[in-house]
């Protein structure tokens, strides 16, 4: 295993998330192989890797959707329960790569649903409507409004979630996740389909969440976003953790560049070939810039 930890180790607090030797196999296919990974409180950690590297599989292992074939995931010292709702109750909240709001509920109700694990009122309490019910309901609403103010959606509390613009739907999803009062927030591509300005707001929002003492783990494709944001970045390639370290270390590492851009030719390429490659790259660049927009729109 690669253990190049150039992290300012003692800086952060207690270990919030501790994944040890996580391996996930689907039949003969090993999607994630022996990944060790920790997140400390007050940290923003990024997880990057080329498509198909096993990021989402690893993510699902952290949220209880998959149970790792080998290894274990601990949250604040406790092994994660195998059900996603229990994981949320334990203190890990997540957002989804393709937004999954409750479209026909209002913005406020979406956040109230997020409060589910932190409130106890059952059916009897709802039917009998004792004083405890009203108090709990009022407290939930107050807390939900607070969170909406935090993400800047307080004016749209009574709108249907489906009617919000894209960027605000992302914010609402974060607010909904925060409503479960997590110790660790997992963001799955929070800036997918966002313009640079929206990306910057999201960045500030994530910093604000960190300042509340919540650890954040981000999966992202947008390199600039990741390297601006994260204290630490781990790179996953073909199911294995390639390197983990601060932005500069990861950015400078040859293997990361190789994983993303491909191996250089064994013999130094001749001038002709170099020109060819440059031309192809330029063309590819043009392609990606035009393709990027419709591609991302599919995420919505």
């Amino acid at each position: 295993m690669t253990t190049e930890t150039t992290v300012k180790d003692a800086a952060a607090g207690e270990v919030v998330l501790d994944a040890r030797g996580v391996t996930m196999r689907f039949g003969g296919l090993t999607a994630v192989r022996g990944v060790d990974f920790t997140v400390r409180s007050g940290e923003i950690v990024g997880l990057i890797g080329p498509n198909g590297a096993g990021k989402t599989t690893f993510f699902n292992c952290l949220t209880g959707l998959y149970i790792p074939t080998e290894g274990e995931v601990r949250y604040k010292g406790e092994v994660l329960p195998p059900k996603s709702f229990k994981v949320t109750a334990a203190g890990i909240a997540r957002t989804f790569q393709n937004i999954r709001l409750f479209a026909n509920m209002t913005v406020l109700e979406n956040v109230l649903v997020g409060r589910h694990t932190r409130t106890k009122e059952g059916l009897w309490s709802a039917l009998l409507r004792g004083p405890g019910f009203h108090k709990a309901e009022a407290a939930s609403r107050a807390r939900a409004m607070e969170l909406l103010e935090f993400v800047g959606l307080e004016k749209k509390a009574e709108h249907l979630a489906r009617n919000l613009p894209y960027g605000e739907q992302r914010k609402l999803e974060i607010a909904r996740a925060l409503a479960s009062e997590p110790g660790l927030l997992l963001l799955d591509e929070p800036t997918a389909g966002m313009n640079p300005q929206e990306t910057r707001t999201t960045e500030e929002l994530v910093f604000a969440i960190r300042d509340k003492g919540i650890a954040v783990l981000v999966i992202e494709h947008d390199m600039r976003f990741i390297f601006n944001l994260c204290d630490r970045v781990a790179v996953l390639v073909q199911g294995e953790k390639l390197i983990e370290g601060d932005s500069a270390t990861v950015q400078g590492d040859e293997r990361v560049i190789a994983a993303y851009l491909g191996e250089p030719f064994e013999n130094a390429p001749g001038d002709e070939e170099a020109a060819e490659v440059a031309a192809a790259e330029a063309a590819a660049q043009a392609d990606t810039t035009t393709d990027a927009v419709p591609g991302k729109e599919n995420d919505r």
Partner: protein, 613 residues
Amino acid sequence: MTTETTASETPETPETTSAPAPAASGLIGLPAPLGRALATGGGVLAVVSTFMSWTWTSDFPGDLTVYGYPGGLQVLVLIGGILTTLFGLASYGVKWLSWLTPGSADSALKMAALGTFGTAWYTVVAISVELGGVVNLDPGGFVVAIATLASVIGALALPFERPEPDPVDPDDAGWELFKHNSRQSWNTFRAAFAPRTPAPAAPLPSWAEILVIVAAMAIGLIVFSYGIGTSYDELFIGFLIIAGFGFASLSKAGLVARVSAITAKHRNITMAGAFLAAAAFPFTQSNDQYATIGVYILIFATVALGLNIVVGLAGLLDLGYVAFLGVGAYTAALVSGSPSSPLHVQWPFWASALLGAVVAMIFGVVIGAPTLRLRGDYLAIVTLGFGEIFRITVLNLDGTSGPDVTNGSNGISSIPNLDILGFDFGAPHQILGSTIGRFANYLLLMLVITLIVVIVFRRSSDSRIGRAWVAIREDETAALAMGINGFRVKLIAFALGACLAGLSGSVQAHVTYTVTPEQYQFAYVVPPNSAFLLAAVVLGGMGTISGPLVGASLLYLIPAKLQFLGDYQLFAFGVTLILLMRFRPEGLIPNRRRQLEFHEEAEAPAVLTKAGA
């Protein structure tokens, strides 16, 4: 005014395509002022004609021979004529009528004119056919025919905003072109009746709002009891025509939206009022005839409301729901002291009702625990199967194929009437000077049960658990990720629904005297059964309280009143359902959540259809 012929016949209308703001024209090429005058005048004339004799003989039901006194179908035409006249005058901009049409006066006028025309011509044609020829019409009949025809032509000539036509794809030919053109004409046709978004209402003092609620409810009650009371088929068909178009015209006028906004503001008063009105209903009746219909409707509606928790809120498609009604009914019947029950005990009502509810709930949990791990269509199929398993089991517990519990296909019969604190439900009582018969007694009891179910529905839907149900319905994966224990929450919904159905069942057993397995099939000619219950929920509006109540009433009355169609009864019923779903897919009373309209959002509430509340 352009003098183009009916747009539906000539779809290529080049004049309208070229002009950016097309000279607003009507479906029929008449000058707008003339059209308006014709429509309004026709309405007035129709009103006048209802005071004349339409036919010479009283062979046609309803006695349309009298001058100076409208009867039978004439009353319906009279109402339509008044509506047409009022909307016609309002469309002229008459000041003291402007409150009538916060929406679009023209569209309302068109609908009202069409409704009046439909009823009047139906009557005239029915007279001619049944009595054998046009000669049987008196002058009044001719007057009303001409007046309503003129009114419709005039109304259809009223200008409207034509939709931007789609450009024709030059490659299209034959069928494709035809499809394009017919879509175009359909859009134009729809635009002719499109309502405008009503202007924001001027705030009324709350006593006035309550008066509006009372008035709306009174009108609803009158229309409803008139519908129940229609004594011959012609009158009922006429009633359906005028009621359908009348409701459409009121809703185009924006009145329906306004009234529902007011009722939403005073929910408690509306609810209390509705229940008082329903409770007062038996006191206005001289015999038990309508109370009988009323109590069956109430049972059906209450069960439908219970199903709405399962289907409308939690989104679990349950096709075997009537089995829980059966469980409740059989449980209550077994402890009712009926001679054909193997248990020779007679429990008081409160105990048997409680037992019925609890046993049904246990069945709900037992059936729900294995099935609720499935999603969507699979759940529907499995619940359908469990519903049939209940029926077949009950059928077989007859002493020959199994232990003797339920008497098999004979069912448990001669269930004694209830007796609560010395009040015998089987005997008529004199209360407040009016006689309250057996069915009226049960109507009042059932009303209490309905009230309980309504309160349970309201309170549970507006709480943590209700939000969890809706969240599960909207997106189960996301709901799980928010920490909702999906299985548990769904099981609660399933058990609660079963419990409420069992409660209704324990009353139903006493009302019907006999419980047999045939009453609790998936599909059966008489409601309640699973198919009808689901139809009532979907038709009325998923996730609402009044929706299933209205849906159940309609689904009970329409088939009962369509019996004269004989073999075509179910066909007509099916067509009615298809039409309703085509034109109002969100149900008759859509959830307010779906009606939330926001400032610049152009989406009409009708667009938000799928997946309820």
